[in-house]
Symmetry: C2
Subunit: 334 residues, 2 copies
Amino acid sequence: MKANPTVAIVGATGAVGAEFIGCIETRNFPVGKLKALASARSAGKTLPFRGQQVVIEELTEASFEGVDIALFSAGGSISKKFAPIAVKAGAVVVDNSSAFRMLEDVPLVIPEINANRIKDHKGIIANPNCATITALVPLWPVHKKNRIKRLIISTYQAASGAGAAAMAELADSTKAYLEGKPYEPKVLPHPYAFNLFSHNTAIEETGYNGEETKVIIETRKIFEDQQIAVNATCVRVPVLRAHSESITFECEAPITPEEVRALLIDAPGVKLVDDREKNYFPMPIDASGQGDVLVGRIRKDLSDPSGHSVSIFVAADQLLKGAALNAVQIAELL
Amino acid sequence: MKANPTVAIVGATGAVGAEFIGCIETRNFPVGKLKALASARSAGKTLPFRGQQVVIEELTEASFEGVDIALFSAGGSISKKFAPIAVKAGAVVVDNSSAFRMLEDVPLVIPEINANRIKDHKGIIANPNCATITALVPLWPVHKKNRIKRLIISTYQAASGAGAAAMAELADSTKAYLEGKPYEPKVLPHPYAFNLFSHNTAIEETGYNGEETKVIIETRKIFEDQQIAVNATCVRVPVLRAHSESITFECEAPITPEEVRALLIDAPGVKLVDDREKNYFPMPIDASGQGDVLVGRIRKDLSDPSGHSVSIFVAADQLLKGAALNAVQIAELL
């Protein structure tokens, strides 16, 4: 890869797109030229980047000429159509959708875990699902030391996971509720003001929804361990950004909460927030806007008297580590 | 018990107190006389009851003369002080606090599960914790048929569990957030607008907070099974009323989701809300204002290949089935 690559952002006006640009700026990613691509509707508008204005261009089949790295976050169907075009034009694609994640020749990468897989790419590297990233960054140091064989996750997922329009719907519908006005949901299938609901992806034959299935199968691929037994319950809560998760895991050998704490205290991408006296633990507002996965509530799983299981509670910015930051970290490693 | 008992409500101006009165009205509970008791601050104000106005009296040691049933919901310290006084004056106390729940001679009752224990009372009957009730009503029909030996619960608890002032704080702080104004939390220890946090009860030596410990020990007492291994993670979410819970349970013998569904379809106090095609499952706004525990997302726990475990998602009105309704049901059985 050249020293100052041309980087294209596909979905530049979306919630993750904005964070791509933010991450590139704050991390001083050595972009030569930035191309902001979006739908025709946004073409001609501008976006601020390093003190200048970048004009948004319409995404077309000709958009990728001269592009070295293309960061995609515009949904699965856009990725399916345009990622192969970008690869053909010579770009390496880091794709935030689920379109290519489970393909055998597409590395699925969380840099803290399997940066070594990046080199195997055939043009496309996939960014995992945000709920997967949030869980796996803190679980990896444990798994490496004492294999995790069973994993039970309940998520508390923010509006941001469904995009900027869903964030606006949460704010607007809550405002309407507080003013006693009616509000008809447009983006999400259920009323969102002071409410929560099962994740809005279709339920599959297993009874698990699409989001839950992603967490299950992506965990196995990233940990390169097909035997991990995973249960996920994905729930959308009325939080604007940053996902939280209640996680219980069972290891092959006995493990104590103190051992988990010792493994996580200096782990990359992890920040311990576990103050029992002050009752201060990971919260979405603290996770928002920063790159680490916050981890706390580290304690023995009292439902497993064998001493092989520990419970934790985590929170991470869905738009940063859950999406844009992870992708930019991958791009840096390119 | 006489046919038209005099009923005292202790904590009549609180969130649960208001629901006590509502439940007595809607269920046509045959109250002879209603005494509304509260702190001196509220004395002299009135409350509507059956088309008339009841004058709120200050709670004193003399308040319980002639009272047959006293419904307490004014916090543990009020219960500790005044419940024995009420009993001495001849009343039967149904107490919504945690003050007496674990005492051996105090029945801890969910009518759908152990109404038979009411007769053992020595003056006080305890109402379980709201998170406990929400979980156990749907688990009981399963446990009776195929013993539940392990239980992992993650809660999504509403503001109402912390009282009317916490509900107001959620609404007020959210309004301030949407208007870009600062807001200093007064009732709860953390900012609540579009945020969530670990339950605001003190963390014990086990690493579990007070709320989680209640769920663990109350489950064993109500099911009369000291061997059930329980793990609870209690989280406060920005929902006004109605608690939700993600529950995974493991039974002694193999069990299928279909068997669980068959056990729950006509179970007392349970309503199945499990429409996979429409992605329609239990939500707090649907649970609010009605008496059943909504149950859905009934599916195999994919992290237990032995087929002994099933996951469900539930929601129930914390102020009704989680508190006032359960207590009034107990009073009816008296």
